[in-house]
């Protein structure tokens, strides 16, 4: 964090230093490699999800019922797609406790690094949209590719602070390389105002 950021005045005062889009333009449209999951899709994980979501849909649990449906067998709840590709505990702790990010060479992580260095250290998820293309079934191996879809060319002035909207695109494929889901995750990377910045800097 540079000193100049201590005097953020988004609606008055002299214009502050802002991100030059050309610094991140080369990352837009770039994808990470497909990352392998830690676990295959299992019936027990599906049941655990249904248990906490209190979802009694027999398509997720009842083999006989599911066989007669158009899916011809048990499927996983589509909204579980992201759980199959979650970080393992070690990486999750590194990310949230130690502030370290695995796969730093991935474009979206490079982008985050540049934005953080420019003072856009805050992050808030603003929209998540998933399109389900094929059913996911027990035994499937779901791999994930993450693409930088869009970075706003200019700052947005929001109640959270001055920030940039960023679209991160997720592509989920199964072991047959069939796309099972596409996801757009829109985040706001923003400069925390002085009043809340201490929350981020500890």
């Amino acid at each position: 964090m540079g000193k100049e950021n201590d005097t953020i005045k988004p609606f008055s005062g002299p214009p502050e230093k802002t991100l030059d889009y050309s610094r991140v333009a080369h990352l837009v449209g770039k994808s990470s490699p497909f990352h392998d999951p830690h676990d295959i899709v299992t019936q027990s994980d599906i049941r655990h999800w249904c248990e906490v979501m209190q979802d009694p849909n027999p398509l997720y649990a009842d083999e006989e019922f599911a066989k007669k449906s158009k899916y011809k067998g048990i499927i996983a709840p589509p909204a579980m797609v992201q759980t199959w590709s979650l970080d393992d505990l070690y990486y999750a702790l590194q990310r949230f406790v130690e502030g370290k990010t695995p796969f730093m060479e991935d474009p979206h992580n490079q982008l985050t690094g540049i934005l953080d260095a420019e003072g856009y250290t805050g992050v808030v998820a603003t929209a998540q949209e998933q399109t389900y293309l094929k059913p996911i079934r027990p035994g499937d191996v779901i791999r994930t590719k993450i693409t930088v879809g869009y970075v706003a060319k200019y700052d947005s002035f929001t109640r959270q602070g001055v920030g940039r909207y960023v679209d991160i695109l997720y592509t989920f494929v199964n072991q047959k390389n069939e796309e099972v889901c596409k996801e757009t995750f829109r985040i706001l990377k923003y400069k925390p105002p002085v009043t809340t910045r201490h929350l981020y800097e500890g």
Binding site: D39, I40, T42, Q43, S44, D45, R47, V52, D88, Y90
Partner: protein
């Protein structure tokens, strides 16, 4: 407390109850990751022995409404008499056969003993209930045994 009802349940064994999940790679890996730490790969062919109790846990939902098995009835009777705060005080497990990927466990619970009178402990007044669990796999082989001692405390014990 009218202890004759409780005494009648001592020595009674539950019916054979099925585990809700088949032993799966993901559940074994989750356990191993927590207990063994970061590794490049985990042995998911054989379940860690202490997971016995994990496979046979009650679900969070749907909630069980009726106490049908003897051990459930004992705890229900104690709860209705004001001893509604169960506290696990000891758990002994004995492992007889390995639990492997794909196994489906089932188990029985026997009420081994209940205190004949109210006991005074540092945690408050309550009754000790000793439950004997027998776990078996789909081939009806006994894979493990467990003795679980519960201290059913008066709810007011928490406030003191």
């Amino acid at each position: 407390m009218d202890s004759s009802q409780v005494k009648g349940l001592v020595g009674k064994e539950s019916s054979l109850m099925q585990a809700l999940d088949v032993v799966s790679t993901s559940d074994i890996r989750h356990w191993r990751e927590l207990m063994e730490g970061k590794k490049d790969s985990w042995n998911t062919k054989e379940a860690p022995a202490p997971m016995l109790i994990a496979w046979t846990m009650d679900p969070l939902w749907p909630k069980r409404v009726e106490a049908t098995e003897p051990h459930q009835q004992v705890l229900k009777l104690l709860e209705d008499s004001g001893y509604g705060l169960p506290l696990g005080i000891s758990l002994d497990q004995e492992y007889l056969k390995p639990v492997r990927l794909g196994d489906t466990l089932s188990y029985k619970v026997k009420v081994a003993s209940v205190s004949s009178a109210e006991e005074k402990t540092d945690m408050g007044k309550g009754y000790k209930v000793v439950l004997n669990y027998t776990f078996s796999n789909q081939k009806r082989e006994v894979v493990g045994r467990q003795t679980y001692t519960i201290l059913a405390l008066q709810k007011m014990a928490l406030k003191q």
